[in-house]
């Protein structure tokens, strides 16, 4: 049972962190629970579908279907996260401020919620399909204390939900003023880390072979398979043996986010909003 708990927890841990962050980011947006809940639900359903077709998916692209699929959905999440940050740079003050009552903000707000719901769905999908496969294998095998393992699996999922809540309430302890800046940085790092992971998947599939020299090996300080290493891997994309390409992609995403936020971010602080005529 303990083994099952650990296996499942390891998978849902990452999704738990991401959902917690997204919940904190959207704390003041109306109807956010439906959106985020919908994202989780869609992720679970998609995970079941992916698990069902795991074998077929794997055989695509000369056996590299899994890697490419992961790379693609990570890229989708990166685009959504970056878009959210840029959008928040423009409209964040409206949402946080007293202007929230404006109907426009609600409509606009749901656009950003859709992006984040997609991110949540992707996070759940990626980790979920492995959990589904594992639990399905256990239940299908019946005989060897299947229920015991299944129980461990569900305990692991419950722990994942605890991680999510801890992340959420931990972030909410940050004063409202600083929270916006914090989550912006968190999301930018999250996006950069996911982009580097996508690059790593493309490297595994041999689709990306340029700049594949390993830049450093910090496994002796912090292995990315240790608990802290895994947490940092999810949050900021820490890897103990990054290739040049992964590093380049990581920095490029941070740069792109910064530039886009500058370009599209509202100059609201400098120029007062035009008076309604």
């Amino acid at each position: 049972m303990l083994a099952a708990l650990i296996i499942v927890f390891r998978e849902v841990f990452e999704a738990g962190l991401i959902v917690g962050i997204v919940l904190a980011v959207t704390r003041s947006v109306p109807h956010r629970n439906q959106w985020i809940g919908g994202g989780v639900l869609a992720g679970v359903l998609a995970a079941c579908v992916v698990a069902m077709f795991a074998s077929a998916l794997s055989n695509l692209f000369a056996g590299m279907g899994q890697e490419l699929f992961n790379a693609v959905i990570l890229c989708v999440a990166v685009v959504m996260l970056t878009w959210h940050n840029v959008w928040m740079a423009r409209h964040g003050s409206e949402l946080a401020g007293e202007l929230r009552a404006a109907g426009q903000a609600v409509v606009e707000g749901s656009k950003s919620l859709l992006a984040l719901a997609v991110v949540v769905g992707v996070a759940v999908l990626r980790e979920g399909s492995e959990v589904v496969l594992f639990l399905y294998g256990v239940v299908a095998a019946k005989g060897d204390s299947g229920w015991d393992v299944a129980l461990g699996g569900f305990a692991g999922m419950a722990l994942g939900a605890v991680v999510c809540l801890l992340t959420y309430f931990g972030l909410l302890r940050i004063p409202a003023r600083a929270l916006f800046a914090t989550t912006t940085v968190l999301i930018a790092l999250l996006a950069a880390g996911m982009a580097a992971q996508a690059a790593a998947f493309l490297e595994k599939a041999n689709w990306l072979t340029a700049m594949d020299t390993i830049v450093w090996d910090s496994g002796w300080i912090l292995s990315d398979s240790s608990f802290a290493g895994r947490a940092l891997h999810t949050l900021i994309g820490y890897t103990d043996q990054p290739t040049e390409m992964q590093l380049a992609v990581y920095l490029a995403i941070l740069l792109v986010t910064f530039v886009l936020m500058r370009l599209y971010g509202s100059p609201a602080k400098a120029t007062p909003a035009p008076a309604p005529s």
Binding site: I7, S58, A140, T209, M245, L260, Y264
Partner: protein
């Protein structure tokens, strides 16, 4: 304003796409060592495989069990789910000499094997 915004978004997307496509090369020029490995009754066969140093490795894994398994190696940086009764291809980058352990994540204690690079 909306149009210009969308235009610049499209340009950005195009640049990103172009950059990633140009970085992709069709196949690895260096020929890889191919290793056959099978998995049955929660055991790897053979339990120890070997490969020459500094060459990319391709592991062809046959999961003969009905249950899915997850081939994982922390030192080789590999993690791959293999559905029940199916095959998988695992690309491993060129390695330095050494012993690299791998296992089935779903049966970490018993299902273990190692790749020896020399």
């Amino acid at each position: 304003m909306l149009v210009s915004k969308m235009l610049s978004k499209a340009t950005l997307l195009a640049v990103v796409c172009a950059a990633s496509v140009s970085a992709i090369t069709v196949a690895r020029a260096q020929s890889a060592t191919e290793i056959q490995l099978s998995y049955k009754d929660k055991k790897f066969d053979p339990a120890e495989i070997s490969a020459p140093v500094n060459t990319p490795i391709v592991i062809k894994l046959k999961n003969l069990d009905a249950k899915a398994m997850e081939f994982e190696s922390k030192t080789l940086k590999v993690e791959k789910v293999v559905a029940g009764s199916s095959d998988a291809v695992i690309n491993v980058r060129a390695q330095k000499a050494g012993r690299y352990e791998f296992f089935d994540e779903y049966n970490e204690k018993t299902a273990r094997g190692a790749l020896v690079v020399k």
